[in-house]
C-alpha cells in the first residue's frame, strides 16, 4: 500500500490494465513523451512504447473517432481529451457513433472504450479550462459517465470503466487531482459502475454530489454537525446511468434532499435528481429539493470565479433552507 494522489492512482490503474490486457492502449494529445499535461500518463510511454501510448495529432474528433475504430476492431482504447472545454469538436463522434453503435448494429459491433477528460474549475486555469458540462453527456443514451472523487475511487472506477463493454466518459476533477492522498493498493481493485457510495450516514437531510464537490460537501457537513444537523452524504460516482434507487431510499429516510453540482443550474443533473425524488419520494419530503449549483452564466475568469463556484458556505445555506422550510 502506498499513499497516492488521484493522478498517481489513475496512472496506476492505466498501468495495471495495460499490463493485464495488450489490447488496452492510451491515445491523446501529449499523453506519450510528455506524460500528459497533468502527468496522468507519466512513464507509460517509456514502459509500453509508442504503439500503446499514442501521441496523436491535435484533433479531438479524430482522437475519439479513431478510438471508436480501434474499439470496433478488437482494441480497448483509453482516449484522453486534454480538457472538457475542448471536447466539443468530438461531440458528434460521441453522440452519433460511440453512444449508439451497439444499438445500431443490434450488438454486432460494440465499443469498449474510455474517454478520460479532466473537468471543472477552481484551479485558476485559462479560459475554456474550467467547464463542468457533464449533463450534455448524461443526456445521451448509450454513454456512461463516471466521476471519481478520491484517489482510491479513481482507481477502482477507472479499472471498471476500461473493462466495461461500452463507451465510458471518465471525468476527472482537476481540482481533486492533487488535493489529497490516500492509501491505494496495487493489484485488483474494481468498483461497480452505476452504484452510488454512501459517504456518511445521517438522519436529517440527504446531500447528493460527485467529483470535486465531495470535499466541499465534507467541509459543510463538519460545520452542520456542530449545529446539530445530521446530513447523509451520497457520492453518486456514476452520473449515467444514475443510481436513482440509492438516492430515493436515502431521501425516504431523511425527508430532505440537497443536490450539489458545479455545473450551471438549468438542465443540470440536479434537475433530473430533483424530478426523480419528486416522482418517487414526494410524500416523504419535508421540504422542496434544494439545488446548490453554479448560476446560469459563463464560467468567469479567475478574478471573478468566486461568483460562480460552489463553496461550503453555499452548501450550508442550501441545507439550512431545507431545514427551515
Amino acid at each position: 500500500m502506498a499513499a497516492m494522489n488521484m493522478v498517481q492512482a489513475i496512472n496506476l490503474a492505466l498501468r495495471e490494465e495495460m499490463e493485464r490486457d495488450p489490447s488496452v492502449v492510451c491515445l491523446g494529445e501529449d499523453v506519450g513523451v510528455d506524460g500528459g499535461v497533468f502527468r496522468v500518463t507519466e512513464g507509460l510511454f517509456q514502459k509500453f512504447g509508442k504503439e500503446r501510448v499514442i501521441d496523436t495529432p491535435l484533433a479531438e474528433s479524430s482522437i475519439i473517432g479513431t478510438a471508436i475504430g480501434m474499439a470496433m476492431n478488437g482494441m480497448r482504447p483509453v482516449a484522453e481529451i486534454q480538457f472538457l472545454g475542448f471536447i466539443y469538436p468530438a461531440y458528434q463522434q460521441l453522440v452519433s457513433h460511440a453512444a449508439r453503435m451497439r444499438n445500431r448494429t443490434r450488438g454486432k459491433i460494440t465499443l469498449p472504450m474510455v474517454v478520460r477528460v479532466p473537468y471543472g474549475g477552481g484551479v485558476k486555469a485559462l479560459e475554456h479550462h474550467s467547464e463542468s458540462t457533464e449533463a450534455v453527456f448524461c443526456h445521451i443514451p448509450g454513454l456512461k459517465v463516471v466521476v471519481p472523487s478520491t484517489p482510491l475511487e479513481a482507481k477502482g472506477l477507472l479499472t471498471a470503466a476500461i473493462r466495461d463493454p461500452d463507451p465510458v466518459m471518465f471525468l476527472e476533477p482537476t481540482r481533486s487531482y492533487r488535493l489529497l492522498k490516500e492509501e491505494v493498493a496495487e493489484g485488483e481493485y474494481v468498483l461497480p459502475l452505476g452504484k452510488a457510495r454512501k459517504v456518511r450516514e445521517g438522519k436529517d437531510v440527504t446531500i447528493v454530489g460527485w467529483g470535486a464537490m465531495m470535499p466541499i460537501i465534507q467541509k459543510a457537513v463538519e460545520a452542520l454537525e456542530k449545529e446539530g444537523i445530521s446530513p447523509e452524504v451520497l457520492d453518486v460516482r456514476t452520473l449515467a446511468p444514475l443510481d436513482h434507487a440509492s438516492i430515493i431510499a436515502s431521501v425516504k429516510r431523511t425527508g430532505r434532499c440537497v443536490v450539489v453540482h458545479e455545473a450551471p443550474r438549468s438542465c443540470g443533473l440536479g434537475a433530473e435528481i430533483s424530478a426523480r425524488v419528486m416522482e418517487r419520494a414526494l410524500l416523504s419530503l419535508q421540504a422542496p429539493v434544494e439545488r446548490v449549483t453554479a448560476p446560469d452564466i459563463t464560467v468567469p475568469l479567475p478574478k471573478g470565479e468566486h461568483y460562480y463556484y460552489v463553496s461550503p458556505e453555499r452548501v450550508i445555506n442550501g441545507v439550512k433552507r431545507t431545514m427551515s422550510f
Partner: protein
C-alpha cells in the same frame, strides 16, 4: 506505380476502359474470369436492386433512399480489391460494394425500410453500419487500420465517402491521423459531382480532390469513376502498398450521381438535362458489358438470363425484408448497453403498460 504515372497535381486521370468499352491494353489489370464475372453480375444486380428500392419508396414500402444509379463501378471496383479479413467502412451510397462483400440484399432493404436489424450483418464481414453524418466515418477507418497495424496484420480498410465529405473536419482529421501513423487505409472518395445540390466546384477550390492526399504526406490518384477496371487497378495497388506497411492512399473516383440525392430530392432543380445526358453516355455498366463481350465472357443470352435471375432474386429479397419481424419493444431497449441498467429496466416495464395498443401494419 499508377500513382506516379497519374499524378493528380498534373491533372491526370487514370482511365483503362473508355466510354465505349475500348480497353487500354497496357494498363489492363490482371483479373480472373471469375472475378470479372462477379464484378459485372454484381453491377447489374446492384442496378436492378437500386431501381427497385426507388420504386418501393414511391410505393410507400421503403423509407427515404439514396439511389446509386451510375455509381456501380465506383462502388464495386474498389471493393473487388478487398480480401478476407479486410474491413469496409461506408457512407450511405455504396450498396453495390456491400452486395459484393456478401451482405444479403434483404438486409440492406430492411435497413432502408427502417429496421436496425438491417445493420446487423451476419458473420465476419467486417463492415461498419452506414454513416449518415457526412464524413464522420473517416476517423473510424483510421482507427480500424491502426488496430491492424498494431497487431501486425496484413489487412487493409477501404473507406468510402463523397465529395462533400472532403469539406468536413473529420476528413482532414481522419486522413491526417492515417498519414501520421501510416495506417493501412485506402480512402475512396466517390466524387459524384454534387453534395445534394452543391456542385463540386463550390465544394473546394482545389482542382482535384485526389491532390489533397499530398498535404497528408501520402499518394493520391484521380480515377475515372465509371471505369471498373481502373478503380480495381488503383485500389489493388493502394491496398498492396498498405499491406506492406507503406501507408494510406486517397483515390478520387470521378463519377456521377445519375439519380437524385435521395428519394426526397429533385435534382432537376439544380442540374441541367444536358449534363445528365453527357453522363448517361458514360454509363459504367454499358462500357463494362462491351468489354466483357469482347473478352468472350458475356453475350446477349447471358445478359437476358442474368437480368431475369437478378430480378427474381431482388423480388425474393424484397419479400424477405417485408416479411421480417418488426422490432419488439425489448429490441428497442436491450442494445443500449451490454447489460441493461436498473433504471432502464424500469423504463422498459413502464413502457409496456403505458404504450397504447398498436394495430399491426
Amino acid at each position: 506505380m499508377l500513382t506516379d504515372e497519374f499524378d493528380p497535381m498534373q491533372g491526370k486521370m487514370l482511365s483503362i476502359l473508355d466510354k465505349d468499352g475500348n480497353v487500354n491494353k497496357g494498363l489492363e489489370p490482371k483479373m480472373s474470369n471469375a472475378m470479372l464475372l462477379q464484378a459485372y453480375k454484381t453491377m447489374v444486380l446492384a442496378r436492378i436492386a437500386d431501381d427497385k428500392a426507388v420504386r418501393l419508396q414511391r410505393q410507400g414500402r421503403l423509407g427515404a433512399y439514396p439511389p446509386s444509379r451510375g455509381q456501380e463501378a465506383s462502388q464495386i471496383g474498389p471493393a473487388l480489391a478487398l480480401q478476407k479479413g479486410d474491413w469496409l467502412v461506408w457512407a450511405f451510397r455504396e450498396m453495390g460494394a456491400l452486395l459484393l462483400r456478401g451482405v444479403p440484399l434483404w438486409r440492406l432493404y430492411l435497413y432502408w425500410m427502417g429496421n436496425e436489424e438491417g445493420s446487423a450483418y451476419e458473420g465476419e464481414v467486417n463492415i461498419t453500419p452506414s454513416a449518415v453524418p457526412v464524413g464522420s466515418q473517416i476517423p473510424h477507418a483510421s482507427g480500424i487500420a491502426y488496430a491492424m497495424k498494431y497487431r501486425k496484420e496484413s489487412k487493409v480498410v477501404l473507406c468510402y465517402f463523397g465529395d462533400g465529405a472532403t469539406s468536413e473536419g473529420d476528413f482532414h482529421e481522419g486522413l491526417n491521423f492515417a498519414g501520421t501513423m501510416r495506417t493501412p487505409a485506402v480512402f475512396l472518395c466517390q466524387n459524384n459531382q454534387y453534395a445534394i445540390s452543391l456542385p463540386r466546384k463550390l465544394q473546394t477550390a482545389s482542382p482535384t480532390l485526389a491532390q489533397k492526399a499530398c498535404a497528408y504526406g501520402f499518394k493520391g490518384i484521380l480515377v475515372d469513376g465509371n471505369d471498373v477496371l481502373a478503380l480495381f487497378a488503383a485500389t489493388k495497388e493502394a491496398a498492396d502498398r498498405a499491406r506492406k506497411g507503406e501507408g494510406p492512399t486517397l483515390i478520387e473516383s470521378f463519377t456521377y450521381r445519375m439519380g437524385d440525392h435521395t428519394t426526397s430530392d429533385d435534382a432537376t432543380r439544380y442540374r441541367l438535362a444536358e449534363e445528365t445526358a453527357y453522363w448517361t453516355a458514360r454509363d459504367p455498366i454499358t462500357r463494362f458489358r462491351t468489354y466483357m463481350e469482347h473478352s468472350g465472357l458475356w453475350d446477349d443470352k447471358k445478359e437476358r438470363e442474368w437480368a431475369e435471375e437478378a430480378s427474381r432474386l431482388v423480388e425474393e429479397e424484397v419479400k424477405k425484408a417485408e416479411n421480417h419481424a418488426p422490432p419488439t419493444l425489448d429490441d428497442a431497449f436491450v442494445h443500449t448497453y451490454g447489460s441493461m441498467p436498473e433504471d432502464l429496466k424500469e423504463q422498459l416495464e413502464f413502457m409496456r403498460t403505458d404504450l397504447p395498443p398498436r394495430k399491426e401494419g
